[in-house]
């Protein structure tokens, strides 16, 4: 800057503001965590850096282990999507439009099904429906006298079942929202024209909410493809592989086949993107079929004699998705041997001692998980809030692109993100593989969309004039952010932090590819101890994770109400 020459004729030169430094750092962090790994992911699919060819992508469809996994993934998605409709739609109808008792609790329990990490549900079902010793199978054995339990959870059906129990909340919440937005006048009009109640349900309500149901089912299907945990815990023993577990296998091979893993990852991304496009299309159709706003009247259906059968069905669903898994894990955690079940003689707390104090990997895992979730949460909030600020409060060129980059990982399965991060940080200039930092990068990348969306919604509600008033009163841009924006955004940003902290605490699908000795997390400990057959210690860890998750989720409702952010289901639905 040649200041001397023109200083006389011009006022002070532009100096770099403190805020610019903060925001530039956040943008750099975003590019490093999301942009750089994705770039590597795409390049590596063509064999870069050693070569450039399309053969690896072709191999996805020619090598039988690969396309077998692809087909399994599609079957899983289809099955879980359809199953989510069977479970989610009746529950949504009961909760939204009937006088069923316990409607409120039903919503909370459905949310609980989603909050419980899906691999823990899978472990619970191993305990319940393992072919040899599963509690339920043993009961069936006694009844039927068969030599082996009749139900095998280690199967395609088992995987679909367990995953559907985790993903059906998508369908539930979207259908629920749609049903809550149909004005009674639609139904009354049909009734006046002679339709019976069932006819109204079939011909008026169902078509109106059909796009929401389809949208929810698609989200469930998309999410089911990405769930490494149940796929690994229930699929691998039966040698059923899906794309995430196949990618895991290809990377864990010696030497790792990077190009093939990247190609498989891109295929998975493509499937996800297709699903999301379809889903968006359905959501748009929804917007003009239902009405919203004030003055909405909802017709509530009196169930009468049907009350208890409906309660029984809804109860059964949430019992399967949340009640039974949590109960069974608790029982196993307190049992000397899980197979014997919980009796006074069999009761012990030694597994908790083992899990929380004695087992080295578990203890290290817990510490690491808390550290990672905390730091990842903070980083994601800083990045997300900065991106939201740049989008909403400045006219910087490319701010939309930045926004998009921050949302993008929402459509990327954890396994895929991990492959990208691995490719990017296993080689110079930034070698962080083997350290805990690579996990941090992966967590920030995976969960930054949750923070970004939540921060965006929060900042939108804060009128810019409040900051402008601070500026004109003498505060710099950074001062206005610090004294005005941040205090006002605190409840919303706390929600953003928790939305990252909760899934990061039990993250498995990316971690499993990135951890090394010393950087184990809770999920890794569970995975490894499960391999060793120490199901009781696994259960103790699982109970610990669920309790912590619930405790941390408790303030979410209150905070969300305070900052008026969308529900968890909306946050997930792009």
């Amino acid at each position: 800057m040649r200041e001397g020459a023109t200083a006389a004729s011009r006022p002070r030169r532009r100096s770099i503001e403190g805020s610019t430094v903060v925001f530039a750092t956040a943008v750099a962090l975003l590019l490093l965590c999301v942009g750089y790994p994705l770039l590597w992911l795409v390049l590596a699919a063509f064999g870069v850096p050693t070569e450039f060819q399309f053969g690896y992508l072709a191999r996805v469809f020619t090598r039988s282990q690969n396309y077998g996994a692809l087909i399994n993934t599609l079957v899983l998605a289809l099955g879980a999507g359809m199953f989510s409709v069977v479970l989610g739609v009746p529950l949504a109808w009961a909760a939204a439009r009937t006088d069923m008792p316990f409607r409120r609790s039903l919503q909370a329990l459905v949310a609980l099904s989603y909050i419980t990490p899906p691999y823990l549900t899978a472990i619970a079902y191993i305990i319940l429906l393992g072919p040899d010793a599963g509690y339920f199978n043993r009961i069936l054995q006694t009844i039927t006298g068969a030599a082996r339990g009749p139900i095998d959870i280690f199967s395609m059906g088992g995987v679909i079942f367990v995953i559907a129990l985790h993903v059906f909340p998508f369908t539930f919440f979207m259908t629920y929202a749609a049903l809550r937005s149909i004005d009674a006048s639609y139904e009354e009009a049909a009734r006046l024209l002679g339709a019976r109640r069932f006819g109204v349900l079939w011909r008026v309500n169902l078509p109106l909410v059909a796009p929401a149901i389809t949208g929810g089912a698609l989200l469930s299907a998309i999410d089911s493809m990405a769930l490494f945990g149940p796929q690994a815990f229930l699929g691998l023993p039966a040698q059923i592989t899906y794309l995430p577990t196949r990618i895991y296998g290809v990377i864990s091979a010696y030497p790792p086949r990077w190009a093939e893993a990247s190609s498989l990852s891109l295929t998975l991304v493509l499937l996800t993107a297709l699903g999301l496009l379809l889903q968006r299309g359905y959501l748009e159709r929804r917007s003009h079929t239902t009405i919203g706003g004030r003055g909405l009247r909802l017709e509530t259906i009196r169930l009468g004699a049907w009350k208890w059968p409906v309660v029984a069905f809804c109860g059964a669903v949430v019992f399967l998705s949340a009640g039974a898994p949590i109960a069974v894990l608790t029982i196993a955690a307190f049992s000397r041997s899980w197979i014997a079940g919980l009796t006074p003689a069999n009761f012990t707390i030694e597994h908790f001692e083992e899990a929380l104090f004695n087992n080295q990997i578990a203890v290290r895992g817990i510490l690491n998980s808390f550290r990672l979730a905390t730091v990842a949460g903070l980083c994601a909030v800083i990045v997300g809030a900065s991106v939201a600020y740049i989008d909403l409060r400045t006219r910087v060129r490319g701010r939309r692109l930045l926004d998009y980059l921050a949302i993008l990982p929402l459509g990327l399965p954890g396994t895929v993100m991990a492959v990208g991060v691995l490719l990017a940080f296993i080689r110079p200039p930034l070698v962080i593989y083997g350290t805990i930092w690579i996990l941090l990068v992966a967590y920030v990348a995976r969960f930054v969309p949750l923070a970004a969306r939540s921060a965006n919604a929060t900042l939108r509600q804060i009128d810019p004039s409040l900051e402008e008033a601070a500026r004109i009163s003498g505060a710099t841009r950074l001062g206005a952010v610090w004294h005005i924006l941040l205090p006002l955004a605190r409840p919303g940003l706390t929600v953003a932090f928790l939305l990252v902290f909760i899934p990061a605490l039990s993250e498995l699908s990316a971690t499993i590819l990135l951890y090394t000795g010393g950087t184990e997390t809770i999920a890794v400990a569970i995975f490894r101890l499960n391999d060793l057959g120490q199901l009781e210690v696994v259960a103790a860890l699982a109970v610990f994770v669920i309790v912590v998750t619930l405790l941390v989720s408790l303030p979410l409702n209150r905070l969300t109400a305070r900052s008026r952010i969308a529900t968890a289901a909306d946050v997930q639905a792009m």
Binding site: R10, P11, R12, R13, R14, D463, S465, L466, E468, A469, A470, R471, I472, S473, G474, A475, T476, R477, G479, H483, I484, P487, L488
Partner: protein, 372 residues
């Protein structure tokens, strides 16, 4: 050179040209109002003046120092200006005292001085006793006062006000209006005030700048813009006006004769009204009923077709042969519908103007919506 000089300001937002060359100057201690319909650029100009927006071209100097130019914009915090926002922008997480004291921390005053200043300004704004309240516990009028106190406590040289009264109810608005005027006289601070309400503008301002579609149509005292509007838009915006299209029958310098229907009127020509077809603008209250008036007047005869009693005045529609006039008369001398009347209007109150461009601004509010 005036205290504030805005020269040739332009600003574009995407495809929308918000400012198309704004030139306004403001003297020290003056109360100037930017008046115009929504989307006319008045708020944008104020925000450029505050330093929140940088101009695409043009410049703003205050006291001889360039504050805004396309090359460099002095940030808002270094302009020594105060601003009152339409929604008050009182910080909801701070008490009244914290709100008011906020700006003082940047003045490097010692604590006692700070406290004393806060104390004093709160008292002068009638806010004493409310120091510990949170904004949510205040009425709209009280929040308004907090916003004012907050911007005045730092003793700015210029106070910017962006439609500060538009969120208050009618009675309170009236009261705050006179308080604002009083405040400006007392403090001697230069006020730049933005509003779309012409009555407010006339009541408060030393001078008014009338904005339209990113340009300034006229700058003048309230009397000037009302009585000698620069064009039909300004005439229209400043109050009710009859716009009578006619053809020029004779011309003698500034005085011309115009045929309107069966009447020939002697009128004053606006300097731009050079064509043979003009529009004559006459305010409804310029008419008087009956022959009685002396001096140079026009006489018009017609029939009352409608009469609306509005309390202090009566609003008439008078048909003068194919042309309907809006006339305001006194309550005492009521002319019932159907009566034949003679109207007189001073020549000086009839102004011939160039016809309005065909593409009149569709967003313009109905003429003289605030005249009653």
């Amino acid at each position: 050179m005036a205290f504030i000089e805005m020269k040739g300001l332009t600003k574009r937002f995407g495809a929308f040209q918000a400012l198309k060359g704004i030139d306004v100057s403001v003297e020290e201690k003056e109360f100037v109002t930017f008046l115009g319909p929504s989307g006319c650029g008045k708020t944008t100009t104020l925000r450029v003046l505050a330093g929140f927006l940088s101009p695409d071209s043009g410049s703003i100097t205050v006291g001889g120092e360039v504050l805004s130019s396309p090359e460099y914009v002095v940030p808002p915090e270094r302009r020594r200006m105060g601003m009152v926002f339409q929604n008050y922008a009182v910080w909801p997480h701070m008490s009244v005292r914290e709100n008011v004291a906020f700006g003082l921390r940047y003045l490097k005053l010692d604590r006692r001085e700070q406290a004393a200043r806060v104390e004093q300004i709160l008292a002068s704004m009638g806010l004493d006793g409310l120091e510990g309240r949170q904004p949510a516990e205040l009425s709209g009028g009280q929040q308004q006062r907090v916003a004012l106190a907050r911007s005045l406590v730092v003793e700015p040289s210029i106070l910017l006000l962006d439609e500060p009264l538009s969120n208050l109810d009618a009675k309170l608005r009236e009261r705050m209006r006179s308080e604002l005027k009083d405040l400006q006289r007392r403090t001697g601070i230069t006020f730049v005030y933005v509003t779309h309400d012409q009555a407010e503008a006339m009541a408060l301002s030393d001078r008014i700048a009338v904005f339209r579609e990113g340009t300034v149509q006229q700058v003048g005292s309230p009397r000037e813009v009302y009585e000698q509007p620069a064009n039909l838009f300004v005439a229209d915006f400043m109050g009710l006006v009859n716009k009578l299209p006619g053809s020029v029958a004779g011309r003698n310098g500034e005085a011309i004769a115009v045929d309107i229907g069966r009447h020939r009127l002697n009128v004053v020509a606006h300097r731009d009204a050079t064509g043979t077809s003009v529009t004559v603008a006459i305010r409804p209250e310029a008419f008087a009923f009956g022959e009685g008036t002396a001096g140079r007047v026009n006489r018009l005869s017609g029939v009352v077709t409608d009469a609306t009693f509005l309390g202090s005045i009566v609003d008439y529609q008078v048909d003068i042969g194919g042309v309907t006039l809006r006339v305001q008369g006194e309550r005492r001398s009521f002319c019932p519908v159907g009566s034949n009347v003679v109207l007189t209007v001073p020549v000086g109150d009839c102004v011939a103007m160039p016809n309005e461009a065909e593409e009149a601004d569709p967003q313009r509010p109905p003429p003289g919506q605030n005249a009653e």
